[in-house]
């Protein structure tokens, strides 16, 4: 029982959350100002044509019918056709989705590796000069908005030193081939450096400061003294015991940070002209491309919900004391 029951229950909670999330998107787009047909206004629709358009989109139906239709279509994987691209939303989104996941995923991994390592060190060197410098650096990184960090990086490394490109995902004229070629090329990595750095600097602060705080508590624990008495080398106590125990709360926060990072992709992708989901969301909302906007909302929300689910499961693995109830 135990573990399996816990996972089943978590899956059930996941489904309920998902349903609530889908309903909120639906309501959000019905109450939002603006009109899908305004997308075609430039073509000079007459009143009659406009009504025909609304009927074609099914917007003349009562709300509950629209809602049922919406859920049915989503469940069958049909996200509709983008007004702007005249292509299925899903086809456009898949590409953008991977662009974002690779960018923000890399940024988060870098942020977590650095944040946890340095955070553990800061906790260990409590009261020393290193700690003070580290905390100030962490706070500065955390309080600087992402777009500002991005602009600073751009002006130093792109405009002044000219080491990295100022934006985009690949050089002009680069061949777009298969999935592998697209993402595992030197050109792609080269374009990715600055936006990843901007994200990593911003998202590093949370695990860094949190790690330091939990480290300070863990270092007061009795078992740390026993490990010292055992004559274990300091680095072993620091990483194998103290940091390993301090990592638990970081895992929970990782899910939340991943969520904000997915949201943060809006800003980083705009600053670095990165063709990802975040930028697509802003553009589709600006152009009243409703199917596309709903698609991006749906996908981003899904990532956040899924990350929370993963965090709960990871916690069971990391902390053997977790009770499955």
């Amino acid at each position: 029982m135990g573990l399996r029951e816990y996972i089943v229950r978590r899956i059930f909670q996941l489904l309920v959350t998902y349903w609530a999330f889908l309903t909120i998107i639906f309501v959000l787009f019905r109450v939002a100002p603006g009109d899908p047909t305004s997308m075609f206004v430039m073509d000079g629709l007459t009143g009659e044509q406009r009504e025909r358009e609304i009927a074609r989109l099914g917007l003349d139906q009562p709300l509950h019918v629209q809602y049922v239709e919406y859920i049915t279509q989503l469940l069958s994987g049909n996200f509709g056709t983008s007004f702007r691209y005249s292509e299925p939303v899903w086809d456009v989104l898949v590409v953008k989705f991977w662009n974002t996941i690779l960018l923000m995923g890399t940024a988060l991994i870098v942020a977590y590796i650095l944040g946890i390592t340095f955070g553990a060190l800061l906790g260990w060197y409590r009261g020393k000069k290193v700690e003070k410098v580290g905390i100030v650096a962490g706070l500065v990184a955390r309080s600087s908005p992402e777009f500002w960090t991005g602009i600073v990086l751009l002006s130093i490394f792109a405009f002044w030193l000219g080491w990295f490109p100022s934006g985009g995902m690949r050089s002009v004229g680069a061949e777009i081939g298969s999935f592998g070629e697209r993402y595992f090329s030197a050109d792609f990595v080269y374009h990715m450096v600055l936006p990843v750095l901007a994200g990593a600097i911003y998202y590093m602060a949370t695990p860094l400061l949190l790690m330091r705080n939990t480290m300070m508590d863990i270092l007061k624990a009795d078992f740390i003294e026993v490990k010292k008495a055992e004559g274990l080398p300091e680095r072993r106590i620091l990483y194998r015991h103290a940091a390993r125990n301090s990592i638990l709360p970081i895992v929970t926060v990782a899910a939340i940070v991943s969520g904000t990072a997915i949201g943060g992709s809006l800003i980083i992708e705009t600053v670095f002209n990165w063709p990802g989901m975040g930028r697509e969301m802003i553009e589709s909302v600006t152009y009243n491309d409703y199917p596309m906007a709903m698609g991006t909302f749906f996908l981003m929300g899904s990532v956040v919900i899924f990350m929370n689910f993963i965090a709960d499961l990871a916690y069971v693995y990391l902390d053997p004391r977790v009770q499955y109830d």
């Binding site: 026993v226 008495a229 055992e230 004559g231 390993r244 125990n245 990391l318 053997p320």
Partner: protein
């Protein structure tokens, strides 16, 4: 053979108010395979003395004077690295007060025993180290398969046994046991103490048992050292301390614990609180709480005096012991201190906590 000898050990803590003299001029001797009970209230300095041996002290602590002679070498001369590699666990290991919190919760107990073995004996293979961990469990009366359990899966008594297994992992010559049984109920306490005694003979290990519980030391210690306010106030073999104590503080401690053999016994507590030992003034540190304190006690720090056969007492009135013993058994004697404890009787400069 003498294993350990403390010579005028002084371990002080630096604080904003001045030096806290947590261990002030401690002289002790411990033979191989001997068990020494270090007794005193919380804050008496007993833990400081024990932790000075392996330099497991907070950052603001300093061994300001004295020698710790262990197997012929002075431990105060060794660097942190030498202490860590050669002394800690390999020579002197430790059993903490609460075994449950003494284990890292995220690794199995076996894993932690194996870690200790392999850090000190890097040539040991995984299979061999795990085999030794299982043997130790067996030795302590635990099911061998429980090496794969996490600390939280053990009961308090079993965790304490597992902790003793960990302490014996690399066969130290000395174990520091800090209140090893305080967190356990009396029946388990008794069994653990007996197990410790058996293993001590088997592994040929000496022990310093830190406790405030007179009944524990009387049962399992060869010699007893009583500490008060950072000073060693009385030191003798267990029998002498239990039957013929000379220091008023020891008399008071004995009163505070029940003797099962005596019927109709009333427990008497020592009034007052342990002294604050930040840069203390001259005079006996126990004087403010002592029912027998005289003018001399307030003004002059007593020197340790030896009575027949190595019985060391640090008290001006130690030679009046038979009289004091009689008086100390009466509750009124101690009550009178409680009533008049406040300034009236304390001449200026007597108590350090002002």
């Amino acid at each position: 053979m003498t294993l350990l000898e403390l010579d005028d050990l002084k371990t002080y803590y630096r604080t904003e108010d001045g030096w806290v003299q947590a261990a002030d001029g401690i002289n002790l001797e411990l033979d191989e395979n001997e068990t020494l009970g270090l007794v005193g209230e919380s804050g008496s300095g007993k833990t400081t003395v024990a932790k000075s041996l392996i330099k497991l002290l907070p950052d603001n602590a300093e061994i300001v004077d004295g020698e710790i002679r262990y197997k012929g070498a002075d431990l105060t001369d060794l660097s942190m690295r030498e202490i860590r590699n050669r002394i800690r666990w390999k020579e002197i290991s430790m059993v903490p007060q609460n075994a449950m919190n003494g284990f890292d919760p995220v690794y199995t107990v076996g894993n932690q025993i194996v870690e200790a073995i392999q850090v000190h004996e890097p040539e040991t293979s995984d299979a061999e180290a795990w085999g030794r961990a299982r043997d130790l469990f067996d030795e302590l009366g635990l099911d061998e398969d429980r090496v794969d359990d996490y600390p939280h899966q053990f009961s308090g008594g079993m965790a304490q046994r597992a902790m003793i297994a960990l302490a014996l992992a690399v066969k130290p010559s000395l174990i520091l046991a800090d209140e090893p049984t305080t967190a356990l109920d009396v029946v388990i306490q008794d069994r653990i103490l007996r197990t410790i005694e058996e293993l001590q003979d088997e592994f040929d290990t000496a022990m310093i048992m830190i406790t405030h519980d007179m009944s524990v030391v009387s049962e399992s210690c060869d010699t007893i050292a009583v500490m008060y306010g950072g000073r060693l106030v009385e030191y003798a073999d267990a029998d002498t301390i239990i039957k013929n104590p000379r220091h008023p503080y020891t008399l008071g401690l004995r009163n505070a614990f029940p003797d099962i053999t005596a019927d109709d016994q009333e427990l008497i507590s020592i009034p007052g609180t342990p002294p604050d030992v930040v840069d203390p003034d001259e005079g006996c540190r126990f004087a403010p709480r002592c029912p027998f304190a005289e003018e001399e006690c307030w003004e002059e720090t007593p020197e340790p005096r030896e009575f027949d056969d190595g019985h060391i007492v640090e008290c001006h009135r130690a030679d009046e012991a038979p009289l004091l013993r009689e008086e100390a058994a009466r509750k009124e004697t101690w009550q009178q201190v409680a009533e008049t404890e406040e300034p009236a009787q304390s001449p200026a400069g007597g108590a350090s906590d002002d």
